[in-house]
């Protein structure tokens, strides 16, 4: 993980290459230790028919022995034959939910008796340093006590998405102070993927399924026999930061044997072969930009509902809109930021109407931003291959299939002009900080 704006996000300058082993009991001790150190534990947990990413108390909350079948527009929980702790791919939620929350109060203002005004940043005194995620009893995730987050069971695609969010929200001319505050203190326990889902293609996007960096502690769960007791789970452990190493002094562990290390490598290699989806990224940006006016976009537009689900589940989509509210007394006003999406009419509304009138144009904006223009803007694709947009599209529109169809259309029309190569030097990362956030952060 790179240094961003002088903040060491994961201080892994001195990566420790030793491989260690912990058991399920060791993991329990680890999670308890994080809680004791004041972290708010967020991890996988069963709820409402899915493996959610939400508050957990400890290792007993993990969906041990569960997995999920994922296909385009389809997700179903299923029992596994073994007692794996992390035997599933990503669910509907991503870290974005916590680090770039769906609703956030930016500031509020009270008119006092003298008709003067006082305003503040919206942060609760002694509470969340990163602004005030709207409290609502229908959204318990944001009402729980704020604190530095410890994310447990973070997948490689999610780490890649985090690096992209860091680039977008911290690495350019505008720094998002809310993201910065939430991001700075978080502790990451990552897990390599052993059981990819039917919509996963992280291998194609070079994001997974193995772990590289960007975590404090990294786990790879070793296979067990279905007849082993649930307590028999063993996990390879890699240290990714000084903070991770320091915490490890409180956790029972032992060095890994050569056989265990080899077994861990097999788990990841097997996962790489089991990806449900594939996306050929070679020259994809140029090919997509060559078919801007292809009738295929209308074909996708006819199937698309314009519901915004794909953008909101995507771990890298960052667009927001601001809303102002007042109260009945006329003494109070506040400004809230909420997730927005390029699939709405308001998103591209300027004087006279929306720039993107139809779903075809909106789908094109989404697909091109993720797979083509993100390169020009941020120096990488905006997709990490997590498959969420495919699984959670209510009508199963498949980004990997649509991109492949469009790329094939480009290949079959050799007469079309090709796009210039992406600017290899993305925007500078050490620009001066502006005084205020732009009202609306869009593509």
């Amino acid at each position: 993980m790179a240094q961003v704006q002088g903040v060491a996000l994961n201080d892994n300058q001195d990566p420790d290459t030793r491989r260690l082993v912990i058991t399920r009991d060791g993991l329990a001790v680890l999670l308890n230790a994080l809680r004791r150190h004041g972290y708010r534990l967020i991890g996988p947990r069963l709820g409402d028919g899915a493996i959610q990413f939400t508050d957990i108390d400890g290792v007993d909350d993990l969906p041990q022995g569960w997995t999920a079948v994922q296909e385009a527009g389809h997700y179903r929980l299923q029992r596994r034959a073994d007692a794996a702790l992390f035997g599933y791919a990503v669910g509907p939620h991503s870290l974005k939910r916590y680090l770039h929350p769906p609703r956030l109060r930016l500031w509020r203002m009270h008119r006092d008796a003298m008709q003067g005004c006082s305003s503040d940043s919206g942060a609760d005194p002694g509470g969340d340093p990163g602004g005030d995620a709207e409290t609502s009893d229908r959204d318990p995730q944001t009402t729980a006590p704020a604190g530095p987050f410890a994310f447990v069971g973070v997948r490689p695609c999610e780490l890649r998405a985090l690096a992209i969010q860091d680039r977008v929200l911290l690495g350019g001319q505008q720094i998002d102070p809310h993201y910065q505050a939430r991001r700075a203190g978080c502790f990451i326990v990552a897990v390599a993927c052993g059981s990819p889902g039917g919509t996963c293609f992280c291998q194609s996007m070079q994001a997974g399924p193995g772990l590289r960096d960007g975590f404090d502690l990294g786990l790879t769960e070793l296979d067990t026999d279905p007849t082993d007791p649930p307590q028999g789970q063993r996990l390879l452990l890699a240290i990714g930061s000084a903070r991770g190493r320091a915490l490890l002094t409180e956790i029972p562990h032992r060095p890994a044997t050569a056989a265990e290390i080899a077994q861990g490598e097999r788990v990841v290699a097997r996962a790489a072969d089991a990806m449900g989806r594939h996306l050929d990224g070679d020259g994809l940006r140029e090919r997509l930009l060559a078919v801007l006016e292809h009738p295929y976009w209308d074909q996708v537009g006819a199937r698309c509902l314009g519901c915004t689900n794909c953008t909101l589940v995507c771990p890298t989509c960052f667009c927001t809109s601001v809303e102002d509210h007042t109260d009945l007394t006329g003494q109070y006003a506040e400004r809230t930021r909420r997730w927005d999406s390029c699939f709405t009419g308001d998103f591209s509304y300027i004087h006279g109407g929306s720039v993107r009138q139809h779903r075809a144009a909106r789908y094109r904006q989404w697909l091109l931003h993720k797979l083509a223009t993100w390169h020009d803007q941020f120096g990488s694709p905006g997709c990490v291959g997590c498959g969420r947009c495919i699984t959670w599209c209510p009508v199963g529109i498949d980004l990997s299939a649509e991109a492949a169809a469009l790329a094939a259309a480009a290949a079959s029309q050799p007469g079309l002009p090709t796009a210039p190569p992406a600017d290899p030097s993305p925007a500078p990362t050490s620009a001066p900080q502006p005084a205020a956030m732009p009202a609306r952060r869009h593509e």
């Binding site: 409402d48 028919g49 229908r138 314009g306 915004t308 509210h325 009945l328 709405t344 209510p394």
Partner: protein, 256 residues
């Protein structure tokens, strides 16, 4: 210095069940503040005392189903500064618009002993088909938060925040797991305008569309998918969007 005059508020009822008006009384905590901010000049559900018009803000509940009401809405419009249609009946014609799809004579004969006593129009129609409407609050019933949003916005002289995007958008903001994808429950959320906070999916059931069509609903695409999923006739019947006939009409639409 005299305090500025409080704006006057009137509540009107047409063909409806009173549920939307009751949302105003349901603002328990905020009700005193509402009464402090506006002069409630006409609200028969709360008090028989009626102050004469004109009124700054009129909340109009219900659809137009009789010739008398067709005339009365014109009078209400003349007496009102801003006219806000509240609820699925006022906005779309309501559940009583189910009759628009059948023969009135057959229906009244089936329901009433003496249908000749009835004096009614053949169709139930939304307020906007008769007079200009300034704002429309959707839902059966309306959402309390949206009612307060409109009132506070009008008081502050700002535009109310009433996004026309889908229920799905709010469903995802709330962090809910999609019931259609994860449980195969048919849901009208992708076609329906937000405002309820994705209430039904939050209780593990599909949205039945009471907030009416979102900005650009694509019903053929959703119908096609549901048929492929093998959604049974009972579920498909429930998907008719009976609370807002505009969603029903979309079944024959081609989208955009």
């Amino acid at each position: 210095m005299t305090k500025p005059r409080r704006p006057t508020l009137a509540v009107w009822k047409f063909a409806s069940c009173d549920g939307c008006q009751l949302t105003l009384l349901d603002c328990e905590e905020e009700l005193l503040a509402v009464a402090g901010a506006v002069e409630i000049a006409r609200f028969l559900e709360a008090t028989r005392a009626v102050r004469p018009g004109p009124y700054d803000i009129s909340l109009v509940e219900g659809s137009i189903t009789t010739a008398a009401d067709r005339d009365r809405i014109q009078a209400v419009r003349r007496e009102s500064g801003l006219l806000v249609a509240i609820g699925a009946c006022a906005a779309g014609g309501g559940i009583q618009a189910l009759r628009n799809r059948a023969s009135l004579a057959e229906l009244t004969a089936a329901v009433y002993a003496r249908p000749d006593y009835l004096d009614t129009l053949a169709e139930s129609t939304p307020i906007a088909e008769h007079v200009p409407v300034d704002y429309e609050l959707r839902g059966c019933p309306i959402a309390k938060g949206q009612l307060l949003e409109v009132i506070t916005a009008l008081l502050a002289g700002r535009q109310p925040v009433l996004p026309p995007h889908s229920v799905c958008h709010d469903c995802k903001l709330a962090g809910q797991v999609c019931v259609m994808v994860a449980q195969g429950i048919p849901c009208l959320g992708p076609l329906t305008q937000a405002g309820c906070g994705a209430l039904c999916p939050g209780f593990q059931r599909g949205c039945y569309g009471c907030f009416g069509p979102m900005e650009q609903p694509n019903r053929p695409a959703l119908d096609h998918w549901l048929r492929a999923l093998g959604v049974g006739t009972a579920a498909a019947g429930r998907l008719d969007g009976r609370f807002d006939p505009r969603l029903q009409a979309l079944a024959e639409d081609t989208g955009d």
